[in-house]
Structure formats: structure tokens, C-alpha cells
Symmetry: C2
Subunit: 369 residues, 2 copies
């Protein structure tokens, strides 16, 4: 950290939050649509997951240092939803190029504002049930990235042998970590088989990779120049043309960048990555079944709106608007009613919702996607 | 039969059909409502059960000799639905007094048109899958009531030990029945226990009482005078005031008549009742489960509209409007979507739909009833 920076008030004055809000999943169909992806749903606690992501960093990072990267179909909605964030910082990606190009674009933008800028990459569509613990982990990661100049990943302490996540293998505690739960990262493992996942969890040497990274913008760009020189060059051209403020150049140049995740592009290649072990009640809410688990239930284990009647029914999740929903003698279903579509799905098969959406696509039902 | 009547062309020139369309069941909620009872649903074959009831007697009885008795909430709909039937013959009952008062009212009306009138009482909300066989049974019953002056009941040959129906115990074949399946009725039994129902069916001496009766109007009224003198007197007062054409008198006098079924009031009291054994593919369609049984299914046993997708789903009944219905991994459900309500019900528990409607009533949700 430069002396000028250290002379300021807060340790976190150089921290910028980059919210990755470009996701366009189908797993919450029919509630989620192309124009209403998961991060714009108010499934948990009323406000959208995107708003909750912004709210969680309040007190550490002010809105002026928050960026949101979205797809162009939903940017306008996000601008309306986040009036505190300067409009130019809610950026429509001209194309979906996975995470690395977006992170690089953000890094150049932040570096142009602050040579000492620290960027925290956070996904927009996760649930974090312990926001206090999250803030502590984020702050620890920011301190580590600031004072040690490390690439930091916030890793999630596993709660079970999930096979759907990437795992981070830890070495010993990081030098100088003191009482912080900061470890050296040995390597990254993509989605493992169940047996391997069981071993990982039992060993207590693994964390889940939740896509939350922290590093100095300058460090990230230096690494990008080393490991992804073509991308770094492309990003330089975008920066020279005006960065996020020159939409025309962005539209022309951004789609030329390699479509690759920041994990593959950098994280798995560079040495000296550190991980903060975060016990923050995290979920990526990957299906209706997970949404059920995260929701509050009545005495029969039903998640349901007020205007519903559940007779002899247990373990169901009912989602609807003003319509009156009635169930009789059914168990463990997900029932989601929207104006134009209805889903009735066995809760333990909600991972197949995407298949139904593919089928709608095949049938040309564009207005339902 | 009088000589004048015999000189006319058809044996059935004196037959009048009285369709009992006053039912207001809740068992097909949310499709059926107070203003759209079962007889006005187009669940089977497009046209409503009421229209099908009228269509079935075509070729035997012309519309000018058909009467429909309905409740006042739905009479106007029925008038629109049945343009062939003279409007005055679609009668709004001023109160629900069960079947006997309505049958008596109809008898007086018919007698005033035709001293030799034969009346066939038919429910409006049943399914009959063999209309040809039904017509033959109806004609046999009409002939029997005409030439023998009997009270005739069309009884259904049981297809299983149903405990929800009344049973008719048969004596031997009626004298002069010839090759017709006409029997003497020994007695009526209300809904039996399962063991008794099994015995009844095995004995082959029982028919189901489906509420279809045929008799001379004059015979019926004579019996009414004998067994229900107060009701007969009340009906006389209504007739003197103008019968079905004096709505004001009807509104005042009709509700004073005893609320009693024609079965209790007469059928079980009079001697010499005959039964025609009818094998007509009959169902009273008492629940969504029965509606499922009666409907055509796809290869996976799903009853479903075109704009639906059933993934790994079997044995479901999907009913909806323009909305796209999607099921995943569910079996044996009834799913009914209307603009304002949605029912998801285990098929084998669809007899509980009425309970849900009671609950809506208790909650004061009048617009959903």
C-alpha cells in the first residue's frame, strides 16, 4: 500500500466491489426468465438477491465504489433497483464471455480510478445467511490482499460432500495470518465424484470455491499480462478507447476476448493464492429444492404464501402471485404459478427444470423463456 | 293410454323429459363454481354434460317436450346453451327443495299439456358412454310406463361394489316384460357398507339407483296425493296460480314445500315399481379421480392439454386454460388451473376437494366459490 493511501481513514478506502450479475440461469423457471434471472428474484426475504449482495457490503464499501456487471437485457432493471450506485457503474456486458474478461475490464476501470485499488469479486445470486460473518471474512480478505499483496479467495467451509462445486485444497495457514483463518492454496479441483467429495470433506483440508475473489487490481492485471497476454492486450485496447464509458468500442472489442472463467484463466495458474475460510451460511441456491431448504416453513413443512390451503400436505413449496393455491394429499412438491406458466415438480427432481426449459425452447415458446 | 293418443304416430309422442339441473356440487372445484356447476362443465367431449343430456334424448323427444329445472344463478346460461328448448321450459327453481317438489311441479305442468303425458326424469350431470343403449333403455321404460301404467326406474347394472350409491333390489322379471330387461323392484337400499355392496353385486339381483325415473304424470300425482298430501296440496296451489309461468307465486309457494327426495317421498313407498336394467356406460362423475378414469390419456397415462410438458410424469390429470403446464417427476396428481385458483391434489384423495371448498367458505373467499 502506498504511503498516501495509508494516511487515509479506513483500511478499506481502496476496496472496490465488483458484482458479477450476468447470470441467466433457468433453474428457477417459471419464476426466473431471460429478463428476470435468479439475481432479480425476491425469493428470500423480499428484496432481490442482487440487492442483498449490495446491502451486505454496506459499511465496508460505499455505493460509489460498487460496480455491477449485467447482461444488457436486465441492466435497466438493475439501474432502477440500485439507485445509490452511479449509473455508469452498472455495466451491460455486450456479450457473455464468462468471468475473466469481465474481471479484467473491471480491473482496468478500478486501476484508472485508484492505483491502489483492491477489487472484491462477488456473485450476485447467492444466499448468505450470516452477513456478519461474511463481512468479517471479506474484511480479512481485503486486509490480506492489501498488506500482503496476495490473490485471495473466499472459500466456503463445506457442509457436506457436494459434487456440484469446485473444491480448493488448502496447505497450511498462511504466514503472518495470525489468528485469521487464512491458508495457502495448494490447488483447485473441479466438481469431484461423490467418493472424492466425501474424502475432501472428511479431511477438513478443502473449501468450496464460491467465485469470490479479492486482489489488487494491479496484481490481477500483471497476472493477466503474464498468463493471458492476448486478453490483456484486448483489454488495453478497450481501456484506450474509453473503457466502460465507450459502449460502441466495448460492443466491438469485448466479444473478441476469450470466453473463459477467471478460475481457469488465472486462479489455477498463479502461485501464492491465499484462501479465507468462510463460515457464512452460504448457498448458491442452485435449484428449487435448495430454495425450499432455505425458506421458512409451516408446521407441516410447507413453504407457502398466505392465500393458500394445504390439506394433508407435507414438505411442499408453493410459489404464486395473487392466485389461491390449494393442495390436497401431496408431499414434497414444488408448485410455482406465474401468469403464463405453471410448474409442478417433485422436489427431489428439481434439477430437471432446465430440461423442461430446453423443451420449451425446442417448441419455440420464446415468450415463456 | 287414451284412444286419441294411440291414434297418433309415435309411441313416444306423449313422452316429456324433465332434466334435473339444479345441482351445485363442489367436487370439481376450482373448475366448477356456484355459477358453473358440474352440468355446465365441458370436461368430456367439449359440450357440457347438460347439452349431452339433451342431445341423448334427441330422436325420442323433441325440444318442445323437454324441461330443464335449474337454480336461478345459472338459468340464463342454460337458456343460452339450449336455444332449441322453449325458454319458459327452462325453469329457475326459487329454492333448492331436493327433487320431490320439482318433480311434482313438472308433473302438474305436463299434465296441463297432456293428460296422457309420460315424464322421464333425468339428471343433467351424468356421463353416459353408450348413448345408444341409453336410448333403448329409455324407450323400454317409456313403453312400460305407457302400456302398463307403472312407475319405472332406470337402474344401472353395477360394475363394482360402490358404496356411494343407492341400490335397488330386484324381484323376478316383470310380468309381460317379454325379452325386455324389466324387473319388479323389491326395495331400495341406501348407500351400503362395502361388505354388503360386495354381496349385492355378486348376487346380480341389484341395480344402482341413478335418479332416472319414468312414469305417467297422472300416476305420479295420484301417488303424491296419497303419500305426500301436503306437498300435493301445495303443488295444486302453485298450479292454480299459473304454475311455472307465475314466478311470483312460485317464489312464494315453492319454498314452503317439504325438502325431500323423490326416492324417499315416493319411490320407496309405492308398490309395483319396475326397473329397467340399463348397461349404458354410466357414471355420475363424482370426483376428479372419476373424471381422470373417463378421459383419454397419453402413453404415460397423463390426461393433458396440448400446451403442456410432462417429464418423467405418470398418471396425472392436467386441466388448464391457455397457461403452459409443466410437470416433472410427479405421479397420480390432479392439477387444475383457473384464472384465480390452482388445485394440486393426489388423485386418490380427490374426494376431499369439497373440504377445501368449505375452508375457502370459512375464510370468506366468496369470489372463489
Amino acid at each position: 500500500m502506498s504511503k498516501a493511501a495509508q494516511s487515509r481513514g479506513s483500511l478499506y478506502d481502496h476496496v472496490y466491489v465488483v458484482i458479477m450479475a450476468g447470470g441467466s440461469g433457468t433453474r428457477f423457471w417459471p419464476l426466473s426468465r431471460r429478463k428476470k434471472p435468479k439475481q432479480l428474484l425476491g425469493l428470500f426475504g423480499g428484496s432481490t438477491l442482487l440487492e442483498q449482495t449490495v446491502d451486505r457490503v454496506k459499511g465496508i464499501v460505499p455505493p460509489e465504489r460498487i460496480y455491477v456487471f449485467a447482461n444488457s437485457m436486465v441492466r435497466a432493471q438493475m439501474v432502477r433497483l440500485l439507485p445509490g450506485i452511479p449509473e455508469r457503474q452498472i455495466v451491460a456486458e455486450p456479450a457473455q464471455r464468462n468471468t475473466a474478461p469481465t474481471v479484467g475490464l473491471a480491473a482496468n476501470e478500478i486501476l484508472s480510478r485508484d492505483p491502489d485499488g483492491i477489487m472484491a469479486i462477488l456473485p450476485a445470486d447467492h444466499v448468505i445467511q450470516k452477513p456478519g460473518a461474511f463481512r468479517e471474512a471479506l474484511k480479512a480478505g481485503c486486509r490480506w490482499a492489501t498488506t500482503e499483496g496476495r490473490s485471495v479467495i473466499l472459500g466456503i467451509q463445506p457442509t457436506g460432500p457436494e459434487t456440484g462445486y469446485g473444491y480448493i485444497r488448502l496447505g497450511g495457514p498462511a504466514i503472518n495470518a495470525g489468528r485469521e483463518k487464512i491458508y495457502r492454496v495448494e490447488n483447485f479441483t473441479e466438481k469431484p465424484a461423490l467418493a472424492a467429495a466425501r474424502k475432501y470433506v472428511a479431511s477438513k483440508r478443502y473449501l468450496w470455491n464460491a467465485g469470490m475473489f479479492i486482489w489488487r487490481a494491479s496484481t490481477l492485471l500483471a497476472n493477466l499480462r503474464k498468463f493471458q497476454p492476448a486478453m490483456a492486450e484486448g483489454l488495453d485496447r478497450i481501456a484506450a478507447a474509453g473503457g466502460i464509458d465507450n459502449l460502441r468500442a466495448l460492443k466491438r472489442l469485448f466479444p473478441q476476448l476469450e470466453k473463459i472463467s477467471i478460475d481457469y484463466a488465472l486462479m489455477e495458474r498463479i502461485d501464492g493464492v491465499s484462501a479465507v475460510a468462510a463460515d457464512i451460511g452460504w448457498s448458491d441456491v442452485g435449484s428449487w429444492a435448495v430454495a425450499y431448504d432455505l425458506s421458512s416453513k409451516d408446521a407441516d413443512g410447507n413453504v407457502r404464501p398466505e392465500n393458500s390451503i394445504c390439506l394433508d400436505s407435507k414438505g411442499n413449496m408453493l410459489v404464486g402471485g395473487r392466485k389461491h393455491l390449494v393442495t390436497i394429499g401431496v408431499e414434497n412438491l414444488v408448485i410455482v404459478d406465474t401468469g403464463d406458466a405453471l410448474l409442478v415438480c417433485a422436489r427431489d427432481q428439481s434439477q430437471k427444470v432446465g430440461k423442461a426449459v430446453q423443451e420449451l425452447e425446442r417448441l419455440g415458446k420464446k415468450n415463456l423463456l
